[in-house]
């Protein structure tokens, strides 16, 4: 084991290795997440309901991560289109067979278990984008192919409608393009395309404009559009430097909408304060750095691209969630990976981490991956 890990490139005094470190950090974050969910629902009729379910998902997530990390990455590379198709089809079918929750038709219901395909598909979306990127060397061609593939995936997500996940998917595409050496100039086009798309969304979905107005001046309508923003401010203030302690989060339980998912960070801040949530911010930054170090030592461009893009997507999602909760961005409905309640998100994050670990391992030369990856980073 040590021999294998030392190949990855980092060995902390010969005992703690990167994969072990990733497992430990994710386990700690997951358990902390369960505690945060209990804390956010402590005043409800069943305070252990969500936390217990999250704990079960954490165990399932660990099993998925372990299995995903054991499968050779060359297999992921070889079967990338088929894996992506296997996760894309449920994304389309959910529009017809799924159940509607909070105005979004994005879940499959199996009794009391709900599966969100747009969350589960994230690692395979990145995988297929990396595969597309490996097919073409030219910047424009690569950009067009990535754009088209991203659009195909974005349409069913937008139709649910789940605009929070759309943002994450768009970032995933941009991350793959940029890390694989794409031209900055090409980024002008998606930004130009975003202008009419934004106007359409604002006209079609008035609540988006309301959210923006509430973000710019929350005090103009403190009980309406500004409510969510104001409650974030008050919840963080109540937490203070040391927090009010677990189980005492009156504000998060009473005022914060979805304190166990969309407002998980603010809810956590109320409990453990500034000093308690600093490790969360530091933890996600460290996760990004670990991804960077793992990628540096990976033995092909395809692997590097996947590790970096997947890590960037998870970190981006975490930072968007935290930014919304600290009032840097308008509410988006994006959850905090590993902390927010939701089995699909948890399993998807751990599955992604498992594939990252698989990509970081050195494999005996079989030529396939290297052939595909040639010319990837132009």
């Amino acid at each position: 084991m040590r021999e294998e890990n030392s190949e990855v490139g980092m060995d902390f005094r010969g005992t703690v290795t990167f994969p072990l470190f990733v497992h430990a950090v994710l386990l700690l974050l997951g358990l902390w997440g369960c505690l945060a969910i209990y804390n956010a629902t402590v005043y409800s009729n069943a305070p252990f309901h969500f936390a217990l379910r999250q704990f079960i998902w954490l165990i399932i997530g660990f099993a998925c991560m372990f299995c995903a990390s054991k499968i050779p990455f060359s297999q992921y590379m070889k079967h990338a289109p088929w894996l992506a198709a296997a996760f894309f089809i449920p994304l389309v079918l959910v529009l017809f067979l799924g159940v509607r929750i909070n105005g979004m038709r994005g879940w499959y219901a199996f009794g009391s278990v709900f599966i969100q395909p747009s969350e589960m598909a994230k690692p395979f979306y990145i995988l297929v984008l990396c595969w597309i990127s490996s097919l073409s060397a030219g910047s424009l061609k690569k950009f067009m192919l990535l754009m088209m593939m991203a659009l195909v995936w974005l349409l069913p997500v937008a139709a649910q409608p789940d605009f929070g996940t759309v943002i994450i998917y768009v970032f995933g595409m941009l991350a793959v393009y940029l890390i694989s050496g794409g031209s900055y100039l090409m980024l002008v086009f998606p930004f130009l395309a975003a202008i009419p798309a934004s106007i359409w969304v604002i006209l079609e979905k008035p609540y988006v404009l309301m959210r923006l107005k509430g973000f710019i001046d929350p005090m103009a309508d403190p009980t309406g559009s500004g409510w969510h923003i104001m409650q974030f401010h008050y919840t963080l203030a109540r937490g203070g430097f040391f927090g009010v302690n677990w189980g005492n989060c009156l504000w998060a339980n009473s005022y914060l909408p979805l304190s166990y998912s969309d407002s998980a960070f603010a809810s956590l801040t109320e409990a453990i304060g500034f000093i308690g949530v600093l490790p969360v911010i530091f933890g996600f930054s460290l996760f990004a750095y670990v991804g960077y170090r793992l990628a540096e030592r990976a033995d092909s461009d395809f692997r590097r691209l996947f590790i970096c893009s997947m890590t960037a997507m998870i970190t981006f999602q975490a930072f968007v969630h935290i930014s919304v909760n600290v009032g840097l961005m308008p509410p988006t409905g994006i959850t905090l990976p590993m902390f927010s309640y939701g089995g699909s998100s948890l399993v998807s994050t751990m599955l992604g981490a498992g594939i990252i670990l698989s990509a970081a391992k050195k494999e005996p030369e079989n030529g396939h991956g290297r052939d595909q990856a040639s010319g990837l980073m132009n």
Partner: protein
Amino acid sequence: MFKNRNKIIIAVFIAWACLITFRLFNYTVYSRDHYLEEGNRHALRSGIIPAARGKILDRNGQVLAWTQRYNDLVVETYPGICLANTAVIKELQGKIKGLSPDKEKEKYIKRNLLPSEIYALKDYLSRYQGIRIVPRLERRYVDYPEVRKILGTVDSYEERDYGVVRIFGVSGTERKYDQHLKGMDGEYEVMQDRNRNWIPGTWKLKTEMRPGDDIRLESSLEEIISRDRKTDEGRKL
């Protein structure tokens, strides 16, 4: 190329983390007091616990005047957040007999709710802020006109900020002993959610309510009646 691009992304994330930390420090430490005060101002509501007006008793302890509490259902219909719509009002009218529009038709009122009717309203109250149960105090007297002359009358006014009705003496014993009878209102503080529902566990008593003192007259009920009749006869003669 890869290394440079990846470094840029890591640098962006680190800068983002610093910005988040700075912002978080502002809310949790630097400007904390300001936001705490503002939050409390929006969430905390003061309320009055109206003091029960004292009874008026005769020399033998028989109650001549007392205060009775009733609960009325008020359904606001002006436009706003979470107000009951026509369908909900119809649904309510099916459950609460006698719920009808007031004179200005701005609200629907049903006076003197029964305990079973209050129970039936449980779910509606937490869902619509326009549906409220308003307590009402009414002064009641023994049914003797002779006694009413002595006891006098009361009037009432509504303190809109607190939604309570205050009773005060206008004439007779009610006015003479108003200071003793009225007692002292209590005051409480409670956190309310967006729909003005009380948040469980946040109710705090600020000032204890002191009920009004009971007043005992020097005459008995019979004496008051006979004295009044004699006076009337004297007047006739």
